[in-house]
Symmetry: C2
Amino acid sequence: MIDIQQATELVLASARSFGTEKVPLQECLGRILAQDMAADRDFPPFHRVTMDGIAILGEAYESGLRTFPLQGTQAAGAPQLSLNDKAGALEVMTGAMLPAGADTVIRYEDVKIEHGQATIVEGAAVKTGQNVHLQGTDRRQSDIIVKAGAPLSPAELGVAATVGLSHLYVQRMPRAVIVSTGDELVPVSAAPAPYQIRTSNAYTIQAALRQWGAAAELLHISDELEATRAELKRCLQAYDFILLSGGVSKGKFDYVPAALTDLGVKKHLHKVKQRPGKPFWFGELPGQCTVFALPGNPVSSFMCTQRYVGPWLRKCLGQPAFPGAFAMLDRDFHFRPDLTYFLQVRLYSDAESGRLMASPVEGKGSGDLANLADADAFLELPRGQDTFPKGGVYPVYRYR
Amino acid sequence: MIDIQQATELVLASARSFGTEKVPLQECLGRILAQDMAADRDFPPFHRVTMDGIAILGEAYESGLRTFPLQGTQAAGAPQLSLNDKAGALEVMTGAMLPAGADTVIRYEDVKIEHGQATIVEGAAVKTGQNVHLQGTDRRQSDIIVKAGAPLSPAELGVAATVGLSHLYVQRMPRAVIVSTGDELVPVSAAPAPYQIRTSNAYTIQAALRQWGAAAELLHISDELEATRAELKRCLQAYDFILLSGGVSKGKFDYVPAALTDLGVKKHLHKVKQRPGKPFWFGELPGQCTVFALPGNPVSSFMCTQRYVGPWLRKCLGQPAFPGAFAMLDRDFHFRPDLTYFLQVRLYSDAESGRLMASPVEGKGSGDLANLADADAFLELPRGQDTFPKGGVYPVYRYR
């Protein structure tokens, strides 16, 4: 049995790119940029007025002038006017081009306008160049503003709009299918017999993938060798990765391992020194399809999704595999077995210290699906110690 | 001019519920649950086998028996069998009902099966009751597992599936429209004249709303009184809230304030002691439509979206208005004016302390759209001090 470090290496070694695609701007939130975004013009593209008021030549004010004849109005979105009289002024609106010949804007609050003349009020502070956002101050034309590889937040989408990119090249998301097995499972809308339960892991895993931007279809395969083989064969061709929930243990009706082997899937690992999720199985049809066979227990399958599938997916997209989030235990915790333990915790941010704190919410084992709803995350407690004192800091995988 | 505490109170006081709706399970991620979810059966619903192996009566083992004749196989998803012979065994599969008359499961790894008999191997540890998940251990039928008001993460969706809820009642999200004004704006796909710029704030704000699960339409209104009035009138009827970007300053062509007043919108606040975002305006057509008029500068409008629109939306949905996240400044910072300052920062989690750390990424003012792409969040630095030493902890509003 291997440890989580080895398992992580094996999983991440099979990460591969799924190419790029061109997507409309408004559908790009959360995607990974696959092109550079450059400034198509200077930022701002012209000397931009930042206050409604009047535009003058600063020299005129400095030489003592306080009253300026108004010679017109420079609206936002209108071609540039000129201030022809060095002792005159133009009214200007926020967002307008600064008129040629002017260099200073005085806001309306600081002037009094009467009979076509603007007089600067007593006590107004005027500095030459004020209230003007100079062309090219923020960025120069052709500067790279956002580099390929950036995750697209609202900020990047605003930049894309500004530089005229109505579509963006982004990393293509791999196509996934979540396969549930086990004849004890019935659909959500069915009334289960006493010996049956409803499919639920598939929904949990599907939602986790959706949080990462990946869509996944759901498929149920019955406990029958031929059906298992035929369906898996189709899935290996049609999808970039398969998440199997259940069906890889030693049961008589667990046809999955045999079918996968038959179909050319290479096993990279089976069983990891961890709890939950010890029976985790991972393999691939090289270059074609990656297969995560998750243990059937709900806590185990969800934990393996967070700890292996998420990092693999991020690496496929060219991102750091691990989010690099850490949290501090807020009370002592004990765990005896020589396994990495993924402790369910509730998280909170401490207003005094800025620390992310983790409260254990233990639950009743890997079958205790309901407990996941009381927690926010898994805290990764290392092997090789059995006491985890209050104040210890560990990696955390949060799902809300 | 009011401070941010007063502004927050005024904004949150206008929060209201938008009712509930019934949504298919697979579309519920991130929504707010508006019903209790109760266990329809015990969790687990039967004594559930947790390992593939054999089921026996523990007493028989305790009395020294080590070899058990096999009397059949209890598959998962099959009706319950009975262990009629107290000295016999049944093969059992993970997820199956424990056969009546058995109470203990011994995994295949610990038995040797030959000639229809299972013999427990030397050194196997067997405890009566092992590898059985007893009916009702986790939750009892009718127990409330998730309460109304819970945000729906993958965990809650798994619970919903298990208890047979293919649709859930969730809080309805308010309908939003983002209105941009200003004749200097042209569409993203247009080639702007030298005095024009492309619409961008609307995309940034729309993406922020989408992160919170709210869909928003985009609308541009030209700088013309009649058009402004007619479009705003329609929007006040058709949407639950309006976000205006620009058009509420003192400019000659800023028809928005007059049009809103004409249409019966009550102003609750205008101008807040904060930077950026000082000209923020907020009002409502009581009980009908809430209006956020955001300053036109990109950093200002985005910051006001994070600091006022997000909390208002969360309160409307019955959630805590503020996410309660705090971060620690990783270097000294100075800010003189007597205004609450929203500092753009890049965040990282410190692996030693579990602290969320914030590095200032200042940018070149409220027009510097590109700088938002270099930051992750706004850190809220209070008024009344001008030095913010390294190690200070403040509320943080993150957008990635």
